[in-house]
């Protein structure tokens, strides 16, 4: 018995996780695809015979659904405006921290990283309060300087911007760490050689540092993009998609349809469209990564 166990040991070691991952990660993809072709809803859950196979109807309806179209627009808005901000700010902070020689600069790493690990719900609750039109800190500060209030969460476009500000605040830390690690990987000899040639700090930055960080910038862009395509908790807590569905992300749309309207098949179709989008972005990353040349 012991010999059998010993020979088949690796299978026993990997079995629990493999089973769990298969059941809860791999099989669901197939299930999602299958139910996206049906009209399963709450009634269907109770009585399986009332579920009908409706082919591509869910997909045809969803791309005509104005809220879905809006959610795609909102999600793209978040990604197109938010990702550059994240890159610029995290990179700037990483450069400053890496530039610093005193030990206090290590403490700055901790400070800028804190928003990344704290609970999304707590953060969203705090920022809702900060954004409150009459009682929030931000408008209070504006009043103090005799500036008009900003409709942070009440104006459809401003609400998107407000959520982006929050998401950028949270994303700085993680990406800053990646940039710092990449910066520390650049050989100091490059800078020494440039200095001998008479290059000043700014020239070194643009001619040596930034080109060598190409891959890190690319990596941060893609991972941030993929993360923001799944933007959910912040709009869910702060605006519930409002005002007027102006902050509904695709993920929030799927949640609404699946768990509040119980249109499981319909929501599954939406989730599959999102899945394809993410796969396309990821594959594009792999392809472009292969083309990237090492110095």
């Amino acid at each position: 018995m012991k010999k059998y166990l010993n020979r088949h040991t690796p299978y026993f070691f990997i079995a629990p996780t493999l089973i769990l991952l298969t059941v809860f990660s791999l099989i669901p993809i197939v299930v999602a695809l299958v139910i996206s072709f049906t009209d399963i809803d709450l009634a269907g859950l109770a009585d399986y015979s009332s579920i009908h196979f409706i082919g591509l109807d869910n997909y045809k309806n969803i791309i005509k659904d104005p809220i879905f179209i809006k959610s795609i627009f909102n999600t793209l808005f978040y990604v197109i405006f938010g990702v550059p901000f994240v890159i610029i700010i995290s990179l700037a902070i990483a450069l400053l921290i890496n530039f610093g020689k005193a030990r206090i600069f290590k403490a700055f790493r901790v400070i800028f990283y804190m928003p990344s690990i704290t609970n999304v719900v707590a953060v969203a609750v705090v920022w809702s309060y900060l954004y409150n039109p009459t009682l929030g800190l931000f408008n209070n500060i504006l009043h103090f300087f005799h500036l008009p209030s900003v409709p942070w969460l009440t104006d459809p476009t401003m609400a998107k911007v407000s959520l982006i500000i929050l998401a950028v605040w949270r994303a700085i830390g993680l990406n800053m760490i990646i940039f710092i690690a990449a910066l520390q990987g650049i050989p100091k000899t490059y800078y020494e050689a440039a200095q001998l040639d008479g290059a000043n700090g700014w020239q070194q930055l643009f001619k040596i540092t930034l080109p060598l960080l190409r891959y890190a910038i690319f990596f941060v862009s893609v991972t941030t993009m993929i993360g923001w395509l799944q933007f959910f908790e912040e709009p869910f807590i702060m605006t519930d998609g409002g005002p007027l569905d102006s902050t509904t992300s695709v993920a929030l749309f799927i949640y609404h349809n699946g768990f509040q309207l119980s249109k499981f098949g319909y929501a599954a179709a939406g989730s599959f469209i999102l899945f394809i989008a993410i796969i396309i972005v990821t594959l594009a990353q792999f392809k472009l990564q292969k083309k990237d040349v090492e110095y």
Binding site: M114, V126, I177, F259
Partner: protein, 282 residues
């Protein structure tokens, strides 16, 4: 001569540059911490002060009543208990991840590489695609509105398995062989040799697991139908929903969720940042 004074000039401007960088970062740091500072200060103010039209920086009246309210009236003890149960179960998941990491690292078996790629592939699956099917599956298994249903889907994770595998490939085979020659079963080898040698990576992963468990929100939200299974995050989101106007209370709730994590983070930040470093560079 010119070279020496140029060197001195460079050193001096470099020192000013360092100070400029430091000041910019300090200002940025204060801005970044502002929400947390405000959250904490507001948590200790009575509600009347928080909603007054003339805002105050430091509390005119320090009060613990918001925190007391959380636990006496808002069921936060219950939410805390549930959250800790989730955290404990995630540690079981961590152990399973370590087992899988060991299996992939130290054994050569048929299909090993294919299975490992399969594991890695699950990392790319976004939560939105799996959440509805998993919910339907748990419903069919009768596990909705149970703690098992909350904990099971996210119990193990490909990323963690990957990290364990990377680490364990560095464990010297001689030690394992020696134990086997002494007659130890494979499981004993794992428990008594591999695990103690993996203390450092367990520390990093343990902290990350704790933080993830403490912050768990989406799955408890979806699976739990009644309040008795809510975690802290879900409870806090309810606080905002139902008691939308009671800001001091919300700030107290947020503080309770955020401050322990910040404290843990400050103490273990070296390990955590290193852990994320490894992930970032892969």
């Amino acid at each position: 001569m010119a070279g020496q004074s140029q060197l001195k000039l460079q050193k001096k401007s470099s020192k000013t540059q360092q100070w400029v960088a430091g000041v910019i970062l300090a200002l940025g740091g204060i801005l970044v911490c502002l929400p947390f500072i405000w959250m904490l200060l507001s948590a200790f103010k009575p509600e009347s002060e928080v909603v007054s039209l003339t805002p105050t920086l430091f509390p005119k009246q320090w009060t613990f009543s918001n925190f007391q309210d959380l636990f006496k009236n808002m069921n936060f003890f219950l939410y805390l208990k549930n959250t800790l149960i989730v955290v404990l179960c995630s540690f079981i998941g961590l152990f399973l991840n370590a087992m899988a990491g060991y299996g992939f690292a130290k054994f050569n078996f048929k299909g090993r590489d294919k299975l490992f790629y399969l594991v890695l592939a699950t990392m790319m699956i976004p939560g939105q695609v799996t959440m509805i099917p998993v919910y339907l599956m748990l419903n069919a298994m009768g596990l909705t509105n149970t703690m098992t249903g909350i904990v099971l889907p996210g119990l193990v994770g490909a990323f963690s398995i990957f990290l364990f595998r990377q680490f364990m490939t560095t464990i010297p085979n001689e030690m394992l062989e020696a134990a086997r020659l002494d007659g130890a079963s494979e499981f004993r080898v794992f428990m008594q040799i591999v695990l103690p040698m993996s203390k450092s990576i367990f520390a990093v992963q343990g902290i990350l697991t704790f933080i993830a468990g403490w912050n768990s929100f989406l799955w408890p939200l979806i699976i739990a139908n009644d309040e008795k299974l809510y975690t802290l995050s879900v409870g806090l989101s309810l606080l905002k929903g139902q008691y939308g106007g009671n800001f001091a209370l919300q700030m107290a709730g947020s503080s309770f969720m955020v401050i322990p994590i910040i404290i843990i983070f400050i103490f273990f930040q070296k390990h955590i940042i290193e852990g994320y470093n490894i992930s970032g560079m892969k």
